[in-house]
Symmetry: D2
Subunit: 252 residues, 4 copies
């Protein structure tokens, strides 16, 4: 088994199509922060290559190996002393008024609808499995995986969702109606979002990295992706230890 780590990997990785190297790769080592790992997952396009995330800065929720733990993590992994966490991903599609797919993205964290800084409050409609759920007057809406629950959704007031659960979380951003609380639904729910009014400067963002303009002619549909992210857990710490360290639990 071979693990390649050289300086040109980043550049190679970005330029290459996954088909170019997939056959020769057993494991993808991601050095950086959570953002780097998110974009690596996207670039894999669903190929079943496990990822070991090493955080070069402070601890991440996804890159849970710190630099000083790297040797131990790698040893564990090469010795087979690891488990693979299969993480649920979301597929987001933007349709035009004729039902044509304009955009298809797959994310590990979240699909976010939000407004530009100077835009007025948006009025959007949420449907789940064809049922009307609610209209939201808010700054936006976050559809997150369990993995993404500790990212933007948490900042917007959402709950912490254990990664192995089969649920999606829908968290409004600064809702005008104080009763519009975060909602957790089955991961096989099909979520549909439309804008109730003409709005300018509304955007859909995938994992906080790719953005598209959203208009009242569009429909955003989000559901569980057929892709999974395979995160290598070299058994150095469990999920709650990561939470505790990141959220400074128990220190007050």
């Amino acid at each position: 088994e071979t693990i390649t780590v050289d300086n040109s990997l980043g550049e190679f990785f970005v330029k290459a199509s996954p088909v170019d190297f997939i056959d020769s790769v057993d494991l993808l080592l991601v050095l950086g922060g959570d953002g780097t790992l998110l974009s690596s997952v996207r670039l894999l396009e669903g190929e079943k290559i496990p990822i070991l995330g090493v955080n070069l800065g402070s601890l991440g929720f996804l890159t849970i190996v710190q630099v000083d733990e790297f040797e131990e993590a790698l040893t564990n992994t090469l010795n087979g002393n690891y488990q693979i966490d299969e993480r649920l991903m979301l597929e987001g599609k933007i349709f035009d008024e004729n039902g044509k797919v304009l955009v298809e993205e797959h994310v590990l964290n979240d699909v976010v609808v939000n407004k530009a800084a100077l835009a007025r409050i948006m009025d959007l409609r949420l449907m789940i499995d064809g049922d009307f759920v609610s209209d939201y007057k808010s700054d936006g809406l976050i559809i997150s995986t369990p993995t993404g629950s500790t990212a933007y959704s948490l900042a917007a007031g959402g709950p912490i969702i254990f990664p192995s659960t089969n649920v999606l979380t829908i968290t409004p951003i600064c809702p005008h109606s104080l009763t519009n609380r975060p909602i957790v639904v089955c991961s096989n729910s099909e979520i549909e979002i439309t804008l109730n009014k003409m709005h300018t400067d509304i955007f859909i963002t995938f994992d906080g990295q790719k953005g598209y303009r959203f208009s009242s002619q569009h429909i955003l549909k989000v559901k569980k992706s057929e892709r999974k992210a395979l995160l290598i857990n070299p058994k150095l710490k469990n999920y709650f230890e990561v939470l505790k360290e990141k959220l400074k639990w128990g220190e007050r």
Copy 2:
């Protein structure tokens, strides 16, 4: 098929053991509020009798049929135009220091640890599947089913959980540490709660109806019950319509 509704039912029901009438009952009609339905579920002791809840006051989350919809709901039900929502329940057991079971209760909404009005803040420990999660300095902790997510947990800041999901929610009550946010875990998680210090006047409450004193010698274990509550949904409204009406969604 026979449905018996007479004035003495309530009294009969309370006095009788379910084994006395189970063979002759196809459906349990509960007239009252959500509290009445919760106690009916407990009295059924796991017998698989579907329940139709009719709310005599304002709309409930469990008793979703209003009085003026009763006839239609009953007609639908008798004509087979209904579905049965199988709702996850929790089993809570209190153990003494020798591992002996002192209490076993099964709930549809929640198991709550909380402190008396004059008691000092409590310091409790949460373990999940044998892993240490966190110590909580708080007024208490709520372990709720998806059904119970819209009851006490919501008031304490928890998310709304769609009833058919397979998750449990752990919501702290007035936690000192602001980072101790609600946690959602798989429904097959085994939750264990102990008190870190001698406390007086700590109680465990089951569905807000039965209470027991909790001391530092005790262990509270909560997991998915083998029982299910079978709620008849006579197809008059879906879950989100109930939510919308109860929470006054979309009115501001």
Copy 3:
């Protein structure tokens, strides 16, 4: 005493400088929503003309007279049966790196720093009266008057502040650190905000209506304005009745 209400007022008002009509106006009648009243206050440029706000749509927090109450409100006002609520306003100034004032605005609701939809999380620094308070990693920060507490700040998790108090509220928008809670300070505090990093697409918005780009060379300073908004309260309802109606209090 004369009150002029004619069709051309709106246009006149926008075009005219307040000095053109100030001497002949005893009372400004604003027909519209809260947004209309906010811009009217700004156009008055501090002139001490009392405003009677009439809401043509649903009840507002500022335009508390409904159309069907208009006659009574006007009668009360003309008969002297009213009080004038003197509302605290904020002065916001943007300085460049040489200390030159680029922008000066006066607001009745709030001064908001927020990021564009596709921008990365911002890292800003808050100083109060020259003391370092905190760095915020968030989507933004809201500085609001008591009057503005029920607008954007409330949606972002801020408290409801009674209008006659002498305080300012600083509410973070989706803060990464869960302990960064809303802060209430004396109204004579001087607030200073700077960006810790180069950011693109950060904006400062005044009363949600006027926006300016904010960069790491700039300093935003916010303090109590010498201007006051004078809102006529024709004694039809008190503040808590408005709150109750707007927030649907007591209905669940």
Copy 4:
């Protein structure tokens, strides 16, 4: 000037009436945690003796001097290099149905109405300055001073209030209605709380230390006390530095 610190002080202090030693004391040195300081303030019964709080454990919000800073703090104080923070206190009175005062207490942090662990949800009414504000279905209500805003009120979702502001905060505990948010009012407001229904096991707690039973025949009135707490600030750190350390600000 003399400062007496001897082992018998605590006992003396508890037994003695303030009138016994007031003439010979220039400064009260409180060694312990915030709870110790709260009870010292109560025992002073309004006598204008400044207090220097030294925390023997972890940093407190009130006892801001740590053990290792004690010498510096004392030196600063004796050299006159300090300021006295005059802190607003609340007077709480419980009246019976004939208007007779049953209880009068003065607090530095908060007056809390809450229910026993096994009690049903309470339904209380809040009036301010004679105006009806709202009925609350909740576990209770906290009336806090600015000083108390970082104690129980913060855990219940209240804002952080700068100590020198002239406001009171009213924070519901686990309100059923999600729109019942914390309210900040002028410190000269007169707050009145009654129970809408017969309840058993409702209590009023003063600074978390003294508790009295509250019934539907009683009226609780809370307003600004004529007493002030005089806290010595030996200029080692400002309020925001205390907040930062206690709340772990800026660490995520």
